[in-house]
Symmetry: D3
Subunit: 134 residues, 6 copies
């Protein structure tokens, strides 16, 4: 079993709030992340695939192919976007790093032809990141 | 002469466009940076002060003080904000990295008690940064 | 199950030795790390919490809260300190990265209100780091 | 159980191809990585050892010793080398990151005196890395 | 005057030697960098342009354009190449970081439409880099 | 004119204070940096040499030689040391980053055989660094 990681980056804006919470709850939970006009991040995404090496190629998966799958299914939909308004696969979700990571997992799941999706890591800032393993 | 640098970060959103340009010009110049709902970045700001060392302290400038000046005058106004709508010192400016760096210089200029402001560096992504030296 | 990481840094000094070992053993084991007047590091601490997302917030745990817990229980006690002399929770321990990581785990264990403590990672230099998972 | 990581770097060249594949297959699979005169990378190697802390030293394993084992068994054989032509332990293998990581595992396996080899991570570029856990 | 930097990376192999030197001189000067089958690096290239901001765009130079100029004139010629054998603009030169940086400057000089080429920085490893300012 | 940089790291402890200041001044100026038992950092040192390329070698200066000069004159004296007590070239100086950088310059000045010493950069933390150019 080997693990292969591809890293991609995207720049996006978001606002964290839940319309069903009171103003006081919102303030306490989301604070400055609830700025009505939004803020943004350079997100770093790492997609990890697990599996066996193909002896003909020495690859678990061709990284050019993995890159294309990530760009087509994720980066093209979130890069230079507003995560609250512009991204169908996040519609109706609070775009926290946790929710974005799970939604990215769901976008990629079933689309990796060699090996299986093992982990999605998402760095929101240099001090905060999340990981989801399905 | 010695140079002392303090690094701070902030997360903000922006949209790049000029209402006086045609749609075609806008598309060509700003492309995906002109997403109407905005996008965002983790900006890294480096403020460089130049001057002489104070022999009593071994400091050019106390970095706790430099940090406080940068936070009071810049970070508190741009962190978790929309740079087009929420920041008075960027009002009426296209918030490119170039314009933000110059506006930050102007916010800091004259407020450094020891040494003189030498340079403002602003990293917008891991691949793009600008520097302004007044 | 999702994993959320908060990164904090602290600067501290230490000296590695065990008074019960002979000088020769000490030299062989600790070498220059046993400088009598000590040396120091910028430590990077990553605290990883595992659990379920709260659907009301989209958070596993509010990172502002996790940051506060780490600062109150760890960073405030070790930052700008001598790890041999100034830190009660390291008293009587050889302050290797391994022992510091375990001691930090013990300081945090039981204090995370949402999710459970999953891992403590501690980077001592750019080439050395340790991880403890309880 | 604690995990201790040592990081080392090496600079090497390689060419990815399999003489048993057709030209068309080679082009599709290896593309520019099959440049006949080769290309190269600064590889970052992380070796992770798992085990118990020795109470006399506070170490799982003395990192000076782990460093020496990695340099003697791996770095001295691959640094400033051509991975297709100069490295006996890669002979007959396509030098993909996957195959290099497994071959490094095999070079280190059985040579760690304290703890057991847990993982070999190999970063080929800032966007691609692999991990092997035996 | 403002300075705008674009960062690109490329992976290449090389061998350092001068056929006009004796073996002894070669050994002393180039050591392991003279491995006959070559070695390689992930090079990081930073291209810095200096000039005035265009008030219509807020740009010194459109970074999409600067990126295209760097890729067309440099990256496409050196990425995944052998710098001794495959690169016309390095023909007959010892491909040290110093010589590569100057050759890249010459490839870019006169091709920047807005502002002027100010500096070429080239990182060969995490410990070695060079800068050329014309 | 080309600039060549060599980066080295060292780990050291220090305490910032001036015995000629009152306790109140000391508290205000040095705060937690004046912990009586000291604290420490992983310092990153960059030494930049400027000059002309030697056409026989393609080097401004052989980096193996520059590395040796830095290690013999600086790193061997400060790594794993207490900067207040163990380092002759810092004796009687407050070991601020500013003073350390200038002292390192003085240790290296006149010892670079090819090119001339251009700059000493010293990173004390990821947020603070200084530069001295003589």
């Amino acid at each position: 079993m080997i693990y292969v990681t591809r890293r991609e980056v995207f720049s996006a804006s978001h606002r964290l709030f839940n319309p069903q919470l009171t103003d006081e709850q919102t303030d306490k939970l989301f604070g400055k992340c609830n700025n009505p006009n939004g803020h943004g991040h350079n997100y770093i995404l790492e997609v990890i695939v697990a599996g066996e090496i193909n002896p003909d190629t020495g690859y678990l998966i061709d990284l050019k192919l993995l890159k294309k799958i990530i760009i087509d299914n994720v980066i093209s939909k979130v890069d230079h976007k507003n995560l609250n308004m512009d991204v169908q696969f996040l519609s109706g979700k609070i775009p926290t790093a946790e929710n974005i990571a799970i939604a990215i997992w769901n976008e990629l799941d079933g689309k990796i032809p060699d090996g299986r999706l093992y982990s999605v890591k998402l760095y929101e800032t240099e001090n905060n990141y999340v990981e989801y393993r399905g």
